[in-house]
Each structure stands twice: as C-alpha cells, then as structure tokens.
Amino acid sequence: MDKSSENNRHVYWNPYFGGFLLGLLIIFTFYMTGRGLGASGAMKSSVVTLVDKVSHEHTINNAYYSKFVKDDESPMNTWLVFESLGVLAGAFISGSLSGRMGFRVQHSPKITSRRRLVFALFGGILFGLGAQIARGCTSGAALSGMAVLSTGGFITMLAIFGTAYLFAYFFRKNWI
C-alpha cells in the first residue's frame, strides 16, 4: 500500500456531516416508502430462506418462520433484503475509494484474533436474538423509530446503549 492511501485509511467524514446526510436519507426513505431503514431484517430473511430450503415442512409448522413464508414467492423477496444488498455495495464503493479494502481481522493489539472472533460470534448471536425480541435493531427499531417519535424506538435505543455502558467494564480488555 502506498503512503498516501496508508495515511487516508483512518480519515473518516466529520460525524456531524455523516449524521446530517443520514438524517436526510431517513427523511427521503419515509417520504418515498412510508417506512424507515433496517438491517437485521435481511438476516432474518436469509435464515428463513435457508431453513425453508432444508425443510419446508418445518418452516410452515414453526409459529415464527411461518409468518414470513409465502406459497408463491421466496422469503428473500422483501424490501429490506434489496436495501441490504445496496448497503453492501455502498460500503464497498466507499471503502474502495478510501483504500480500506482487504481481508483481515481487526482487533486490539492486546488480544489475539482468535479471541476477537470468539467474541464477535458471541456478540452476533446475542444481537441476533435481541433484535428478534425487540422487532428490530439499531437501524430499524431505534433510529427509524426515533425519526417518528416512536416510544418503542426510544426505549429500545435507551436499553441498547444503557446496557452496553453497564457491561462495557467487563469487555474493556477487548477494546482498550
């Protein structure tokens, strides 16, 4: 990697600029579709599709999967799946322009990549579970909820950040 892109790697947008554009995007999304953004919904659709491929009988008999399985179309045919494909492409473009591409495990020098991956898996499982219970993640429940003053959106946001601060002490070795 040449010197200039090495220096650029950690130069990000001003957070207020990024936040302002994100706010405009949320307004545009509500203006066009009447709903907000999301992210965990696409992963739920992927799980439903995978389980449906293995055993259709199982999905239609399960009270949760069966909400998302229809006879005439794939469970992948949802707005959030297409939006998430866009997210992957958009992040790929931004990362490419700034020289941030590359296969690697990012972790604090104080821990091993193995430890980082174990905690990533464990954190992912908890986030996936929590996002189903609360019907949405930081994007769909908290951010899009707050844009229309949803009480549930504010409660979810406070619960996510409040608990993360409470538990931050126990995970400090992974980050600082």
């Binding site: 990024g18 994100l22 990533a120 996936g128 619960a159």
Partner: protein, 196 residues
C-alpha cells in the same frame, strides 16, 4: 403528497429500485463515517471516540425535525408513516440483550454489513452469529412468545405517552442531543487516546 408509494403516486415496482438506491446511500454514509471499524464503534463505550453518538443523534434530530416540518408544510402525511410498535418488555429486554452483543462484538447489524463489504473477517463471523441468534429465537419461539407479544401498547409515539405536543418533545430531544455532544467532547479530552 408523501409518502409516495403508499399513496400510489409511485407504482410498487419502484419499491425495489428505491430499496437498492437507499441501501447504497446508507452503506456509503455508514462506511465513510467510519462505522465499518469495530474499534471506532466501541469507542463510544470507553470515551475515546464518540462518532457513534454524534452520527446517530444528529441523524435522529435531523430526521425528526425534517419529517415534522414536511408534515407542517403538507408535503408528507405523518399519520401515514409506519410507527415502530411498542411492546414494552420486549423493547427493554431485547434492547438489553442487543446492548451486551454490541459491546462484546463491536458491531450492530447495519455496521457489520458495511464491514463485511470491505473484507473484515470479524464482521463475517459477527453476521454468521446474528443468523445463529435468529435461528435460536425462531426454534425456541415458544419460550419467547409471551415476551414477544406481551405488554403491547400500540403504535404509540412520545406524544401519546407523555401527552405533550410534538414540537416540545422534538425541542427537548434536540437539547439533549446538543448537551450530549458538548459533554462527549469534554470527556474525550480527559480520556487517554487509543490508536487503532
């Protein structure tokens, strides 16, 4: 008048094209703001980087002011917008579980997708973990069903909950955000820098 697709001003076929374009912008903004880095995201919990707080609250304040202003101007009918429903205990317990997952894994679902796109292998593992979490919830749905469907308060907003007009609530939220930005800068100056 908006929202355009629910009002039939744009046909439903546009929905998919718009979904991809909105996603494209969403991914670009998150990645360019540094949200593809778990160490930057986790900074908000240890005080060495407040990008999450600043981006998140700026976006929330801009969007809520913008949407209510557009409603006032008659460009969008705010009563037609989807309000995330309030299931009180599901929101609290689900949010708490997500909070632990956030500080343990360093991502949330949207930011992990951005990190997946630029090749972070820890994010690939994290997304796999999310899918395992969804699988566990679905297979054990009977255990969670009471929590998931219980304490339903409707698609309520803070206007309903506090019985205060929306403009006062939005003003209050904006003030809280401004104070949080101010305090976060003071805290960051006092905390030992972490290079990542």
């Amino acid at each position: 008048m908006g929202p355009l697709i629910p009002n039939g001003i744009l046909t439903n076929e546009w929905n998919i094209i718009i979904a991809v374009l909105i996603g494209l912008a969403f991914g670009f903004i998150l990645e360019a703001s540094g949200f593809s880095s778990s160490r930057k995201l986790a900074g908000v919990f240890y005080g060495y980087d407040f990008a999450v707080l600043k981006v998140f609250f700026t976006a929330a304040v801009v969007s809520v002011i913008g949407l209510y202003y557009m409603d006032y101007l008659g460009w969008v009918d705010i009563s037609m917008l989807y309000v995330h429903p309030t299931y009180l205990w599901a929101a609290i317990i689900g949010g708490a579980i997500m909070g632990v997952g956030f500080v343990a894994g360093g991502f949330c679902p949207g930011t992990s997708l951005c990190a997946v796109a630029i090749g972070k292998l820890d994010a690939w593992v994290y997304v796999f973990g999310i899918m395992v979490g969804v699988f566990i919830f679905s297979e054990a749905y009977g255990v969670f069903e009471g929590l998931y469907n219980g304490s339903f308060l409707g698609n309520i907003t803070l206007v309903d909950s506090f019985d205060i007009p929306a403009n006062y609530i939005i003003f209050g939220v904006t003030l809280i955000a401004l104070v949080a930005f101010f305090v976060s800068d003071i805290v960051r100056k006092r905390i030992k820098k972490v290079f990542y």
